[in-house]
């Protein structure tokens, strides 16, 4: 079972090696919690009944002055627990050499997906300037996970995160597997409509904006988006994500497991859909 949405911003061993990672955690990602040893991350997975986590960096040098992990740092962290971590890459989507940087991250560093965030990288996903990057990701056969919905980051404006900005990309790249994060809250019904319309769109569950994981996930997946819509129509397109360390993996996993989905659908959400996204499954 896989957590498809984690940020390794508080891993103490990496901050000791690269002190600028703490500045990125505090000032760009914006989190105040204490650093924790890598063991804490792995224990979080263990007590949540999960085997692996996708590690997401974010190339924010152009907009924020420094990145939240470089691709090389993500690869280094994956090497510390290769059986537990799946590393993704990030590039500046507007940089002319972005496609080549992505290809090097995949070919040379073994990274397995691309992370983009329109609110933090300040671009519209449908901008034609980004199309060469999508073409390369599609050619490489890797998934693209794109921030959708509200962001807590200080300078991240909501408008960049509206999921309808994804529609041209979904339409023009039907073979590119795209994950919209955070169930695009508060535009969750809109992203559900997109997922109905475009089978190459996935959504992750890494959403918590008020109350607690149990209550929020119930509100999101039962009231805002009818649970039957997921159970009957979108169960192949929802993946579990926690947004760790903004939310403990254990709490988000418990909330999703208890929301009322069938066991078969939970298996898809926690494992099968992630494997398909990563290209580890033919289904």
């Amino acid at each position: 079972m896989i957590d498809f949405h984690t940020h390794p911003v508080l891993v103490e061993e990496m901050v000791i090696r690269y002190p600028e990672l703490e500045k990125a955690a505090r000032e760009v990602f914006f989190i105040g919690n204490r650093l924790q040893p890598l063991e804490t991350f792995l224990l979080e997975l263990d007590i949540s009944g999960l085997q692996r986590a996708v590690l997401l960096p974010l190339e924010t040098t152009r907009t924020r002055g420094l990145p939240i992990y470089s691709n090389e740092q993500i690869a280094e962290l994956v090497a510390m627990a290769p059986e537990r971590f799946v590393g993704f890459a990030s590039v500046d989507p507007l940089a002319p050499d972005a496609p080549d940087r992505l290809e090097r991250a995949v070919a040379d560093l073994g990274l397995r997906g691309l992370k983009l965030s329109p609110p933090s990288q300040e671009f519209y996903p449908g901008d034609r300037a980004v199309y060469p990057l999508y073409e390369r990701a599609q050619a490489l056969g890797i998934p693209v996970i794109i921030h959708a919905g509200m962001s807590w980051e200080p300078r991240a404006r909501l408008v960049w995160g509206h999921p309808l900005h994804l529609e041209p990309v979904l339409a023009d790249f039907p073979h590119l597997r795209i994950v919209a994060t955070h169930f695009a809250w508060p535009w969750s019904l809109e992203v559900a409509a997109l997922a109905l319309r475009y089978p190459n769109l996935y959504v992750d569950t890494a959403a918590l904006y008020f109350d607690n994981p149990d209550d929020f996930i119930t509100d999101l997946l039962v009231r805002r988006v009818p649970l039957t819509l997921i159970e009957h129509s979108l169960r192949h397109q929802v993946v579990f994500g926690s947004n760790y360390p903004r939310v403990e993996i254990k709490n988000m996993a418990r909330a999703v497991r208890r929301v009322g989905l069938s066991e078969k659908t939970l298996t898809m959400v926690f494992e099968e859909n992630a494997l398909r996204l990563l290209g580890d499954s033919e289904r």
Binding site: N33, Y209, K250
Partner: protein
């Protein structure tokens, strides 16, 4: 007068558990050179505690279970005001139950030291109490004496 301060890290491995730290405290006392005085043991965290009780696995489970009954993480009849976005943390606070358990159990323990030994009952153990793990936690041990 000798005053020594040492910090130890406790890696909790579960959401809620008791971790016996008595041997660590005794090691620090022995290394301090203090023959007669006091030892203070306190946690630096507000979602954890320090407990003194008998060192039995069954009792450890009862303590954890009873604190959960007194201050549940997810109460059915009410909601915590702490369930809100904390701008200084960049995340929501939804661990009010852990904070309340910390208040109920307390955050410190104090024992006399006589002839270089901690004076405690034969069944008394000092536990670090985790209410929001797994996390790497800090415990401060201060020894005052001569």
């Amino acid at each position: 007068m000798i005053v020594k301060l040492e910090q130890i890290t406790v890696q909790s491995r579960a959401g809620q558990e008791l971790v016996d730290i008595t041997p660590e405290v005794e090691r620090i006392i022995a290394a301090s050179g203090v023959r007669n005085g006091l030892v203070n043991v306190l946690t630096k965290h507000t979602s954890a505690g320090i407990i003194v009780t008998e060192g039995l696995e069954c009792l450890e489970q009862d303590v954890v279970d009873h604190l959960e009954r007194l201050a549940p993480d997810r109460p059915q009849e009410y909601a915590y005001y702490h369930n809100r976005y904390l701008d200084f943390d960049g995340r929501l606070g939804f661990n009010a139950g852990a904070h309340l358990k910390s208040i109920l159990s307390g955050y410190f323990a104090c024992f006399p030291i006589a002839e270089g030994q901690m004076v405690r009952g034969g069944r008394q153990r000092i536990y670090f109490a985790e209410y929001d793990g797994p996390l790497a936690r800090e415990v401060v041990v201060q020894i005052i004496g001569e």
